[in-house]
């Protein structure tokens, strides 16, 4: 069971007696219903960037001024009742490493360029509707990256005497970069690694990531520890929290590990990625008994190899190389077989 729509009622009485007389009691008015709510997803992604997992989930694009983008989103009513769904675009910001969609009335240039085919849907239980979003970037648009989100919002039914409703909304993020040329590609660097112990004594490893590219990035990744005391290995550990960084921003990517781990030293291998951009760094670290340990500068692994593996290009190169080698071998092997035949016939 789930509830869609909660209105907060706060009762303030001038005296305890009045509260009792008037029957005022704090509470929420809720419209209870079952099912899985109302959800949204992106339907179209650019053909040219389909290998990038970010473009499968968000509208991530880099376009020139004057470009018109069309993308569809699909809204599904997976609840057990009919719903009125409000569809709109709001601005968004990157705050403290998180992508945060602003309130419904918040606008920026991107939202003024974006129009939606429908703004209000009456959706029966179990139905789905595709909504076309058109982003018309004006020819005089200034260069830079802007953020927004397309929302599907469900509000509780207005109650008698109240016009205030509660909203639950799910959104598709928009990261739109406007640039005359190809723009500065997405990139980031891992500056330093700091082992420490948190307030509960758990070992943590903080990696300082800097967005050195021209586009916002969503960093996630994992950590492996090897060559520890008595040859111990541990991991992979998943990053605790995905970090979103605007161009030029720096932020910490923190891994919290098990308190059963000895202090080390460990050979740490950190793999961080945002879409197709991957960075792998290694360093020898030692967790302190308490507080903050020694910060170390990591060594970066060859980036080209990682990028090639992630894009599947390496697979193609290996297959092509195998073909060439086999063909050469066949050419050199054929005369030998003929000679053997000749010998046998003698």
């Amino acid at each position: 069971m789930a509830v869609i729509g909660v209105i907060f009622l706060l009762s303030v009485a001038s005296s305890a007696a009045q509260a009792q007389e008037s029957g005022i009691s704090g509470g929420a008015v809720a419209e209870v219903e079952g099912g899985q709510g109302v959800g949204i997803k992106l339907l179209d992604m650019p053909e040219s960037t389909q290998s990038d997992p970010r473009t499968r989930t968000y509208i991530v694009d880099q376009v020139g001024p004057g470009t018109v983008l069309e993308r569809r989103v699909q809204i599904q009513n997976n609840s057990t009742s009919d719903k009125v769904v409000y569809v709109y675009v709001s601005s968004a910001t990157i705050q403290d490493g998180n992508f945060v969609g602003d309130s419904s009335s918040s606008q920026n240039e991107l939202t003024t360029w974006t129009t939606l085919e429908q703004s209000q849907l009456k959706m029966p239980s179990g139905s789905e509707v595709d909504v076309l979003a058109t982003i018309s970037v004006p020819s005089d648009a200034s260069e830079g990256e802007q953020y927004g989100a397309i929302w599907a919002e469900v509000r509780s039914a207005p109650l008698a005497g109240s016009s205030i409703v509660q909203a639950s909304r799910a959104g598709v993020r928009i990261y739109l970069s406007v640039d005359e040329g190809n723009g500065t590609p997405a990139d980031f660097a891992v500056g330093s690694l700091t082992p420490s112990r948190d307030a509960e004594g758990l070992p943590t490893l903080s990696a300082l990531a800097e967005n050195t590219g021209g586009r916002a990035i969503d960093i996630s990744g994992e950590l492996n520890l090897a060559n520890g005391p008595a040859g111990l290995s541990a991991g992979p550990f998943t990053v605790q929290q995905a970090t979103t960084l605007a161009p030029g921003d720096s932020g910490e990517v923190v891994f919290t590990l098990s308190d059963e781990l000895p202090n080390g030293p460990w050979d740490a291998t950190l793999s961080l990625k945002s879409g197709l951009v991957e960075r792998e760094v290694t360093a020898t670290i030692t967790f302190p008994d308490a507080g903050v340990g020694e910060t170390v500068a990591p060594n970066e692994a060859p980036v080209l190899l990682i990028t090639l593996v992630s894009s599947g290009v390496l697979l193609l190169l290996i297959a092509a190389g195998t073909l060439i080698v086999l063909r050469r071998r066949r050419k050199t092997a054929t005369p030998a077989v003929e000679t053997a035949h000749a010998d046998a016939s003698v």
Partner: protein, 180 residues
Amino acid sequence: MRKSTFAALALMGSVALVGAAVTPAMAATTDTTIATVAVTGGVLTMVAPETAALTAIVSSSAPQTASAELTGVQVIDDRASIAIWTATATLSAFVPTNGSTTVIPLTTATYVPDAAVVTVSPTTVVTPSSVTDLTDPETVQVSAGGTSSNTATWGAKVEVTVPALALADIYTATLTHSVS
């Protein structure tokens, strides 16, 4: 000859692997300047709390706190892609039902989420974050990257500070949960 056939098949297999995740959009829109393909996968859903009840308070010469325990706030991520999401909460201004002029500030309203219970893909890490000002949407839970669907369910405590000598009334506000 057999080896080269095998190698050719391996090459085709590599290509198929790289391009397996997407299918051409059958209902591709026209008049677009950028070619697109269809995305597979499910939807991202925000489900509002099952329960929420602000405690009633009696006006006093000192500021007081009204609180509400939320249960069953839920994010369902069936996109089966990079499972990164940010959930936020915000509160609209409290509106008095009977015309009271007391303003209940949102800048001191707090939202303290519990650790989320993650199901479907329990390896997905979801980190809670407390909020001390609910004027604008602020992050309350963030998921880390993954490739599987996940469902995160949490409870939270919302507290509102009612100023001293507040006028008796019933004040209403809207609590909004978002996920993207």
